[in-house]
Amino acid sequence: QQQVKQSPQSLIVQKGGISIINCAYENTAFDYFPWYQQFPGKGPALLIAIRPDVSEKKEGRFTISFNKSAKQFSLHIMDSQPGDSATYFCAAESGTSYGKLTFGQGTILTVHP
């Protein structure tokens, strides 16, 4: 019940295309959903985060879509660039287990020039 399932494991997109990464969860107590971006040799960095009271949040080229009834959320990267090539992790946290982020398995995104 604590799992967050992420797909796909890897994704190849052409420059200018849209990258879509999906996550699903079971624990309805989750109330905070961040996305992290990790480059090789670096720690994960927060990209964007959402709470269940909104269905969409946009920051620049990055958008989170959230479907509370389906217990799913996704990251959309518009106009994907080679510099976006990295590993992306979705995560979730519940108020009853504050501080503990439960991460998805990660998606390796490659954007071809």
Binding site: Y32, P34, Y36, G41, K42, G43, P44, A45, L46, A49, F89, A91, S97, Y98, G99, K100, L101, T102, F103, G104, Q105, G106
Partner: protein, 110 residues
């Protein structure tokens, strides 16, 4: 502003030994978190310290332990090392909700 720093960058130990990993949080952050990033397993939550106290713990055996010092820096200790402990250990710090990660310590157990 300096980010989260971790030392050492790499650590090689043999099975049965003890490993000590260190983390310095961003200045002003009082919470420190530890995660294990093993190959193919994503990030697994280990421990959360805040104001010197252990606040939450993940599903890891007791040989994984740590502490937080008065200056908010933290240590992660792994006793009786096993081969499967080989992983990247990430430390994060926060003042509010957002966790900021360090570059990690790569632990290799031979």
């Amino acid at each position: 502003e300096a980010g989260v720093t971790q030392s050492p960058t790499h650590l090689i130990k043999t099975r049965g030994q003890q490993a000590t990993l260190r983390c310095s949080p961003i200045s002003g952050h009082t919470s420190v978190y530890w995660y294990q990033q093993a190959l193919g397993l994503g990030l697994q939550f280990l421990l959360w310290y805040d104001e010197g106290e252990e606040r939450n713990r993940g599903n890891f055996p007791p040989r994984f332990s740590g502490r937080q010092f008065p200056n908010y820096s933290s240590e992660l200790n792994v006793n009786a090392l096993e081969l499967e402990d080989s992983a990247l250990y990430l430390c994060a710090s926060s003042l509010g909700h957002t966790q900021y990660f360090g570059p990690g310590t790569r632990l290799t157990v031979l």
